[in-house]
Symmetry: C2
Subunit: 212 residues, 2 copies
């Protein structure tokens, strides 16, 4: 095998469970019984447990010793925290990346946006959303910063999915993304950072509104 990180069953089942959560098949607060899930996903309990641990440290699942795991319930405070942190960290990443963004990066970002326009499965939309942001941050080459930002994005993915059920929210999000992308194309760093901040603030506001 050539790849330097062989994909393991634990990882792929984590991905599957993430999809089930984001698509609403597994609802917030719902208990995740290991035997039932392992049967449903046709894996043993061993990789399943590793998957649950991953999701727990991702924030999508809450687990307590000997009592089991359940889908995380996101409250107002969690959403506020996630978006306030993203609002501090993501502009930093974009700024660091900006001088090194290539046409290829921009192409990748645009590809994600185009795909997102045609997609409506929540989990895939969520992945494409991250692809877009990631394409713009990655040229910063700041791995540790990106790791934290990735975590925050995964954790807020559930909130964003719920938000996407808000009327016209996906369209607004797409428009904000296009503005950000155009600013990057124009070499307008300040404009890009401002657009990113605006995008995060608007998303936060809509999600917060929805949850009262």
């Amino acid at each position: 095998m050539i790849s330097d990180t062989q994909k393991t069953q634990a990882e792929s089942t984590a991905a599957k469970i993430r999809t089930l959560i984001l698509n609403g098949t597994l609802q917030p607060g719902q208990p995740l019984r290991q035997e039932a899930l392992s049967e449903q996903l046709s894996v043993s309990r061993t990789p399943l447990r590793h998957a649950l641990q991953s999701l727990a440290e991702e924030g999508l699942v809450e687990t307590t010793g000997y009592k089991g795991a359940r889908v995380a319930e996101l409250d107002r405070g969690m959403i506020d925290d996630l978006f306030e942190m993203r609002l501090l960290l993501e502009p930093l990443a974009l700024g660091s990346a900006f001088p090194q963004i290539t046409k290829l990066d921009l192409a990748r970002a645009e590809m994600a946006l185009d795909a997102a326009d045609a997609e409506d499965e929540p989990s895939r939309l969520s992945a494409l959303n991250w692809d877009f942001h990631h394409a713009l941050y990655r040229p910063s080459n700041r791995q540790t910063l990106l790791r934290t930002i990735a975590q925050l994005n995964k954790a807020s993915a559930l909130a964003e999915v719920i938000a996407s059920s808000i009327v016209a929210r996906p369209e607004k999000s797409a428009a904000e993304h296009r503005i950000l992308l155009q600013a990057c194309r124009d070499g307008d760093e300040a404009g890009a950072i401002a657009a990113l901040g605006e995008h995060l603030r608007l998303a936060h506001r809509d999600i917060r509104t929805r949850k009262d």
Copy 2:
């Protein structure tokens, strides 16, 4: 049992390994063979694997599928990222907490400082260091923010431990902590936040200098 989170072997072995890493028994880059470690810590490989996964998502261990885990090597970029993030997030936490900090919180913080003065085992010093910071941030009641800050602190713990071998660094750190604590006592929010920022900047500079 009354406690709502029964401690599991995976967690306690994770703590043990963390100590071994922070105390330098396990050096950065060193491979962590499961069988050897499980034998040394007298647990089976099952909880050991969970512990390694935890440490990996904490950032103290790097793991690659089927190839095994090794103690993380921290490069310059990682340290810069960790401290820049902390410099953005921790003042936010302190500011949110400030109006709600009680005398009890201050007492807890001081207790950690006093204990740290008499301690010289790296892993315990690291824990006390976190206790101090955590005591001041916790009244914010912003769990998600605190979780991320905790992660960043755990990840930079290794760097700080190495830094503590710098001559006079622990004394400087203690002094900076005292200034911060005093500002909190005086109800001087701006001063406290400034002191915290200064503390993080100085720690970052010393660590960076040490690593060239």
